[in-house]
Amino acid sequence: MIDISDSIGIHDLGGRLQEPFNQEEHDYEPWEKRVHALRELLATKNLLRVDELRRSVESLGEEKYKRLSYYEKWIWGMSQVMVERGVITDEELGRRIAEVKNRHD
């Protein structure tokens, strides 16, 4: 049976007890900066709204949401919206991922 708690997303953390987290400043990895830059680029081209990215990240599900880092979640969320919008296809994305993977394996 569906109940209210099913609609409160895992992202909606306000007021929930949490474990302490590391509050130290840290630098971003180059790949994280590229992800951020890509989001900005997509926004300037009107291909991605911040609200779409938020919705996409919020829909990742509890397991992924907890396991992935901030920018890893962005990658998933952005890819999802790009496929939804038809900017890329699942097939193109999968093919490209395989190509890059092969270069590095």
Partner: protein, 138 residues
Amino acid sequence: MIESIESSPGSTGSTDASQDTLSVNSPSDAPLFNNGDRVEVRKAYPIGHCRTPAYFRGAKGIVERHCGAFANPEELAYGRSGLPPVHLYRVRARQVDLWASYAGPVLDTIDVEVFEHWLVAAPEQLGDEATDNLEVER
């Protein structure tokens, strides 16, 4: 592109934030709430994206200010226009009413920005502690 400067429909000439919104896409209606109005946040749990924090649903408070009108993020989240813009309000509530184990002063408040469709007018009630002592500029 700004095509014309127009005041919001039904405006009374007071200088509130909505008159600063220069846009051809004005909100359909004048703001429902005024500063100081008692409001309650709806206890809704919709599917999809929304900006009302779960902890604030059901909260009783007062309108601290009208923030302006904005395209609805719940619609923008799915690639829709979110127009006409929806009025946004900053709602002030007491912390003791939100958190069961709140140990801070009774006067502590929190301000949360909530879209108009999430708010209902809360009737004036004598002895309604939740909103009696909240103060805002009217």
